[in-house]
Amino acid sequence: MPNMARPGGLAPVAGAGGKTRVVAVTGAAGFLGSHLVGLLEEDERIGRVVALDVKAPQSVGKKTRSYEVDLTLSAAETRIAEILTAERVDAIAHLAFLSSPTHATAWCHELESVGTMHVAVAARQAQVRKLVLWSQTWLYGAHPSNPNFLTEKLPLRAPTAEPYFADKMEAEEQARKLAQRSPGAVVTILRTAPILGPMVNNTFTRYLSRKLVPTMMGFDPLVQFLHEADAIAALHLALLRDAPGTFNIVGDGVLPLSTVIKLAGRVALPIPHPLAETIVGLGWIAQLVDAPPSFLKYLRFLCVADARKAREIMGFRPAYTSREAVLDFVNAERLRANRLLSETAA
C-alpha cells in the first residue's frame, strides 16, 4: 500500500498542502449515489471519485472514474479490491441498497447482505480507511412499545421475516464486523429517516402520490422525514469528518401521518388493519401493490429516531425540518401536475 496523506483525529479536511482524498461510491448510479458523486465532483478537497455500479452515473464529471461492478457476482470481491488498491481509495460510501421492496428477494439478498460483505472484505484487503454505510431508521421497527425517540443504542426490531429489512440489518452487521476486525478503520453507519424531496422516488413518495392514500383506521402515528438534500449532505459530511459509529440522520420535528396526507392534498382512505393486511398481502403476491404487508406496521406505530447523536458528535444539522421536506415534495408534485417542472422524479 503506497503511502498516503492521512489526516488523523477529527480533522475535517485533508491537510492544506497535502494530498486530496480519493472516495469510492458504490451504487453510484442510484439516486443518492449519483447526487453524492455530483457533490464530490465540486468539492476541491476530493481529488478523485471512483464510481462503482452496473452502469455509469449520469453525474460523471472530470474527476470521476466509473467502473462497472456487479455486487451480486461472486467475483465482485476481488474486482472491487483491485479497483480500490489501484485507485488508492481512502473512503468508500456504500450506497448500493434498494430503496423499495422487491419481489426478487434472492437477488436482493445477494446485493445487500452479501454485497456488503464483498465491499467490507475488499475494503479490508485494500486497507481503505473509512466505510460509510447507508441504512434506514425503519430498521428499528414500528412498535407500540417504542419510546417516542429511538436512540442508536436500542436494538433493531424490524420484522426479520421481511427480506427488505433483514438484508439491511445483515449489511449493518457486516459493517460492524469490519469495524471490529480492522481497528484503524472508521466505519460510519447513517440511518436515514424516510427520504422526501422534489426529486427522490421511493416507497414513501409513491405512497403519498396516490389520490387515495390508505391509512390504518384509528391509527395516526407520528412520522419524521429527511430531505433528500440533507441525506446527501450527511453522506458528504460523513466522508469528510471522522465519526465512527451509528448515527440517526433525521429531519427535525415530527408530524402525524394524517397531517402529512392532508399537506399533500390527498385523501386518506382508512382501512381496518386486519383487513388491510389481507388485502395488501394478496396484492403483494399479485404484484398489484408497492410494498408487502409488513410495511403496514409503519402506518400504525411509532418509528421515530433521535437526531441528537448526529448533531453532537458528527455535527450534522439538517437544513429542512420534516415538515419542510414534506412541503418541498408536495410543491414539486404540484409543479409536475401543472407541467411547470418537467423533470421526473428519480
Binding site: T26, G27, A29, G30, F31, G33, H35, G38, L39, E42, D53, V54, Q58, S59, G61, D70, T72, L98, S99, T102, W107, G115, P144, S145, N148, F149, P198, M199, N201, N202, R206, S209, K211, G218, F219, L222, E228, A229, D230, A233, V254, P256, T259, G265, R266, A268, P272, H273, R317, A319, E324, N331, R334, L335, R339, L340, S342, E343, T344, A346
Partner: protein, 395 residues
C-alpha cells in the same frame, strides 16, 4: 398519478437503487436538485447548497425564505393555471428557463375553465384534504400533543371536571411555578380519567396554569383510536426515555407508578396503593434531579367499581383482562360510563431527593427506600381524604 406506477421497482441486475428512470435529465449535484424547484420563471432566489445549508441551519431566515418562495410558487401556479386552463397544451420543453407565454385568456374561455375546474374530481379531493386540517394544528410537539385538537374536545372534559365529577383541588400551591417536577399519583378507574383531570386541575387552579403531561400505559397505544386520541390531548407513553426527554424540557410530568395494576384494582382494593413498579420514577428523579410532588386522587376509584377481572382468553383480543362491573358487560359499552362520583385531588408537599446524587440511582436499596417513602406519603394522604369524606357522591 397513474404514470408513476410504471416506475415501480423492477429487479434489475444492478447495484443501484431501482426505480430510477433512465430519461431523467442529469442533475449533477444536490444543488441542481434543490434548484430544480426554482427552475420555473422568476423564482431566481438561489437555494443554499446542502452543505452550506447544513452549516446555516438554525438561522431564522431560512424558514422565512422558504415560506416566501413557497408563496411565490403558489402564486405562479395559480397564474399559470389561469393563463392556459388546467390541462391543455403540450408540456413545455425540459430546459426552457423563460416563462411560458402569458397570453391573456379570452373571457368566455376563462369561464369555461372555471366550470371545468369545478367539475373535476381532483378539485374537490384537494378541497376536502385542506378542510381536514381545520380541526388540527399545523404543528405538533415531539409527543404529538395537538393544541387545536385539544381545544376542540376540551368542552367535554370541562363538563366532566365541573359538572360531572365536580373536582375539588387542594394544595396546588405545592406545584412549583416553573422548572421540572414529577407529580406522582394513585391510579384509578377502569377507564382512567385521572390523567386528564389532573391536567385540568393544574391548568385551571394553579397560579401559573401550567400544562401537565401525563405518562400513560403502553397498552393504550396498541389500540386503534385510543392511542392517537390520548397522544393528541397530551398523554405520553410511559417509558424512561420519554420521561427524561420531557423533564429535560423542564416540563411538569405526572406519573401513575401503579400502572396497569392500579387500573385493574378490584373494588375491595380501592385506595390501597399497589406496588410502585420497580421504582423507575425514583431512579428518574435521582438521575435528572427532579423534585417529587405526591398527589392523591379520591373519587376516581369508585367510577367503575370492578367486581372481577376475567383474564381467560382475553389475550386473544389483545387486552390484558376483561373488567366486570355492576354495569359492564351487562349493559354493553354504555356500561363503561363512569359513575358521577365526587372527586378530590390533594397535592402534598414536595419530597426533595436533591440530597442524593445522580449516581445513587443505581443503588437498589436506596431506590427501594425512597419509593416506599413516596408511596407511604401518598397512602397517608389518601387515607386522610377518604376518612374525611362523608359520601362517595357528594364528598
Amino acid at each position: 398519478m397513474t404514470d408513476r406506477k410504471k416506475r415501480a421497482p423492477r429487479p434489475r441486475r444492478a447495484t443501484k437503487a431501482p426505480g430510477r428512470r433512465k430519461t431523467s435529465p442529469p442533475t449533477t449535484s444536490t444543488e441542481a436538485v434543490v434548484a430544480s424547484q426554482a427552475d420555473p420563471p422568476e423564482a431566481a432566489a438561489p437555494e443554499p447548497a446542502p452543505l452550506e445549508a447544513t452549516e446555516l441551519a438554525g438561522k431564522p431566515d431560512v424558514p422565512a425564505r422558504m415560506r416566501e418562495l413557497e408563496e411565490r410558487l403558489d402564486r405562479m401556479i395559480d397564474a399559470h393555471a389561469r393563463d392556459r386552463g388546467i390541462s391543455d397544451g403540450p408540456p413545455p420543453p425540459a430546459s426552457r428557463p423563460t416563462p411560458p407565454p402569458s397570453r391573456p385568456a379570452p373571457p368566455p374561455e376563462g369561464m369555461l375553465d372555471t366550470a371545468r375546474e369545478l367539475l373535476s374530481a381532483d378539485f374537490y379531493l384537494r378541497k376536502w384534504g385542506r378542510m381536514g386540517l381545520r380541526n388540527r394544528s399545523q404543528e405538533v410537539d415531539d409527543f404529538g400533543y395537538d393544541p387545536v385538537y385539544e381545544r376542540k374536545v376540551l368542552p367535554f372534559f370541562e363538563f366532566l371536571y365541573e359538572k360531572y365529577f365536580r373536582v375539588e383541588a387542594q394544595g396546588l400551591e405545592n406545584v412549583p411555578n416553573e422548572g421540572r417536577c414529577l407529580l406522582v399519583a394513585n391510579h384509578s378507574g377502569t377507564i382512567p380519567f385521572d390523567g386528564i383531570m389532573l391536567r385540568l386541575a393544574v391548568r385551571r387552579e394553579h397560579p401559573r396554569h401550567r400544562d401537565v403531561r401525563w405518562l400513560a400505559e403502553d397498552v393504550i397505544f396498541h389500540f386503534p383510536f385510543l392511542g392517537s386520541f390520548t397522544a393528541r390531548v397530551g398523554a405520553v407513553r410511559a417509558c424512561q426515555e420519554n420521561a427524561e426527554r420531557l423533564l429535560g424540557h423542564e416540563a411538569l410530568v405526572a406519573v401513575f407508578p401503579e400502572g396497569m395494576k392500579g387500573i385493574g384494582k378490584l373494588f375491595k382494593e380501592r385506595y390501597k396503593l399497589q406496588r410502585f413498579g420497580r421504582g423507575g420514577f425514583v431512579k428518574l428523579c435521582l438521575r435528572t434531579r427532579t423534585p417529587v410532588v405526591p398527589v392523591a386522587i379520591v373519587g376516581g376509584e369508585e367510577t367503575n367499581p370492578m367486581l372481577a377481572r376475567v383474564e381467560y382468553l382475553t389475550q386473544a383480543i389483545g387486552i390484558p383482562y376483561l373488567p366486570v362491573t355492576p354495569t359492564f358487560p351487562a349493559l354493553g359499552p354504555v356500561g363503561l360510563m363512569p359513575a358521577p362520583t365526587k372527586w378530590k385531588i390533594v397535592v402534598g408537599a414536595p419530597i426533595d431527593l436533591g440530597e442524593y446524587g445522580a449516581e445513587s440511582a443505581d443503588d437498589e436499596v436506596l431506590v427501594g427506600k425512597l419509593t416506599e417513602r413516596v408511596r407511604s406519603a401518598i397512602q397517608a394522604m389518601l387515607d386522610r381524604a377518604v376518612s374525611e369524606r362523608r359520601s362517595v357522591w357528594f364528598g
